[in-house]
């Protein structure tokens, strides 16, 4: 099962979805995403992951990702296969998937070792000017998860803030799961279709989950919990440390509501600038 996650890059990462994957002990997942901040690290540490297609796996504001390091350096908790990408190459792979294109040719990464490490690209020559080109094949995720501010019950998404590769990943997927902070009226969302990256016809589930992206930010809803990323970095230097962190923040809470209660005042503080686009239903 391949899942594209965190496709807006640093913001709007569906941590609530990832934590539920851990609680449900999912295994052998193939994760797809440009940078994914620390969510990929958590899923790797929890043993859910078989393969990663990503441009970057780490902790954006705090540094390296300890679980990713342990998996690659020591096979703990298991060996994973990595398909290296750059942000542009994964964007083009998802664009090819979205357009149903056989591949997308590009001049990026020529001379880089990434194409060899990725293993799915092919070098070619442009028949138009004879220049060397790199051909990026499509990525078609089984599921793309789109975390957003609001959605209507039929799956019409309202996604504010930078999109990163969210639109390409959603259009490329076989199915889309929507994670939203609030449910909005269909007419209201359809009034501003430019904020909707994909047609609702692709959406198989709309999950109403408040605070689903913490500690990553969600534009107009809440800020980024920088300290939480640093705490995670410090806490997960060892396997025991990671297990302790997971027991506290993932398996130790039964759902997102309990997680937010546990965050307490610090969660409230992150929402001080929040402003909703739609009347809550």
């Amino acid at each position: 099962m391949s899942i594209a996650l965190g496709c807006a890059l640093e913001p709007a990462i569906p941590f609530a979805f990832g934590h539920e994957l851990i609680r449900q002990r999912k295994r052998d997942l193939v994760l797809i995403g440009p940078i994914s901040d620390i969510l990929f690290d958590q899923l790797i540490g929890a043993g859910c992951v078989r393969e990663i297609h990503a441009a970057w796996v780490g902790n954006v504001s705090a540094g390296l990702a300890h679980c990713y390091r342990r998996a690659m350096e020591q096979g703990i908790p298991r060996r994973i296969v990595v398909r290296d990408h750059s942000n542009f190459s994964i964007a083009q792979a998802l664009l090819a998937g979205a357009m149903g294109a056989p591949y997308i040719p590009t001049w990026t990464l020529l001379g880089s070792d990434i194409p060899r490490a990725n293993g799915t690209f092919k070098e070619s020559t442009s028949p138009f000017d004879g220049s060397k080109v790199l051909l990026i094949p499509p990525i078609v995720p089984d599921v793309t998860v789109v975390a957003c501010q609001s959605a209507d019950p039929t799956g019409t998404v309202y996604l504010d803030g930078p999109w990163g590769v969210s639109q390409e990943a959603a259009l490329a997927a076989k199915a889309v799961i929507v994670l939203c902070e609030s449910i909005a009226g269909t007419e209201a969302v359809q009034q501003i279709p430019r904020y909707t990256p994909l047609p609702s016809t692709k959406v198989v589930a709309v999950v109403h989950e408040r605070g689903g992206c913490h500690p990553s930010p969600l534009q107009n809803e809440y800020g980024r919990d920088h300290e939480f990323f640093h705490e995670y970095h410090r806490a997960t230097r060892t396997v025991e440390g990671f297990e302790g962190w997971t027991a506290e923040w993932v398996t130790g809470v039964k759902d997102r509501a309990e997680y937010l209660r546990k965050l307490g005042p610090r969660w409230k503080a992150l929402r001080d600038k929040s402003r909703q686009m739609f009347e809550p239903m």
Binding site: A8, L9, E10, P11, P34, I35, D37, A54, A55, W56, V57, G58, V60, S61, L64, A65, Y68, R69, M72, E73, R79, V81, V82, D84, H85, S86, N87, F88, A91, Q92, L95, T106, W107, T108, L109, L110, G111, S112, D113, I114, A117, S131, K132, V133, G161, P162, W163, G164, V165, S166, Q167, E168, S216, P217, Q219, N220, G223, R224, H226, K273
Partner: protein
């Protein structure tokens, strides 16, 4: 308060940005360098952020990531990664900033893995992000990194972001349309690239050629007119310390 290496690096990086240029900015020191450039000699420079943000004014507050809400508010365009990368591939981006764990004498950067093979590395690094794209497609690459023998190596284990490969002419041979590193700014000095190879052009006031030679993993090439890196003016220091009052990015580890 003494001038920190971070502040000297930021001031030098700011000088690398010309007025009116489109620049892939990134975070940390480069972001502060962009702030300095905008407030001094490059008021009409444009900052690009790979998640889809275009700004003509730096965010008013210190950012931890380019996706912080403060970097979105007040942007002149908020779009998609593919839109910004398209501008990069079209050759519309003049310069880009990048850091790295390892660099070699030809400006090749490794942010992927150290030692072992790709499937079993000795040290797993986070990877390229957009760095390899900026190194491939921007007209100029501005590299900023700490200076020590382990990082400035004769050869990097993995070329994540291509510099000049094995020297002059290599980028053309592999098919890269333009670009390459124009400068390497370290905690000890400043290098320019001559025929694809790093040449030391200045040492920071607190360092020396001997210290730099001792901490560089390749036979050091020194410019005939090597001098001292220009120290930031009080105006520039004021801008830096106003933007990073705690020295979170510019004075760490000092």
């Amino acid at each position: 308060m003494d001038v920190s290496a971070g502040e000297i690096m930021v001031a030098q990086a700011a000088r690398e940005i010309r007025d009116g240029e489109m620049v892939f900015v990134g975070m940390r020191l480069p972001l502060i360098a962009f702030v300095v450039a905008k407030r001094t000699h490059a008021p009409s420079a444009i900052g690009l952020f790979e998640l889809g943000i275009v700004r003509d004014e730096p965010a008013p507050e210190l950012l931890y990531t380019m996706g912080d809400p403060a970097n979105v508010e007040g942007s002149i365009w908020c779009a998609r990664t593919i839109d910004l990368m398209g501008m990069l591939q079209r050759g519309e981006v003049d310069a880009g900033f990048i850091g790295g764990a390892e660099i070699d004498r030809y400006g090749n950067l490794n942010t992927t893995a150290i030692g072992g093979d790709r499937a079993h590395p000795k040290v797993q690094l986070p990877g390229s992000g957009g760095g390899a794209d900026i190194a491939s497609l921007a007209h100029r690459l501005i590299v900023i990194m700490p200076h020590d023998k382990g990082r400035l190596r004769e050869r990097v284990d993995f070329i994540t972001s291509p510099g000049y490969g094995r020297g002059a002419g290599w980028r053309e041979r592999v098919g890269l349309p333009r670009g390459g590193p124009s400068v390497l700014i370290t905690t000890l000095g400043v290098f320019r690239f001559v025929d694809g190879e790093a040449v030391l052009v200045s040492n920071h006031p607190a360092s020396s050629l001997d210290e730099i030679r001792a901490n560089t993993g390749w036979p050091l090439r020194v410019a005939g007119d090597v001098g001292e890196t220009q120290v930031p003016s009080d105006e520039v220091l004021g801008i830096i310390r106003d933007y990073d009052p705690e020295g979170f990015w510019t004075r760490r580890g000092e």
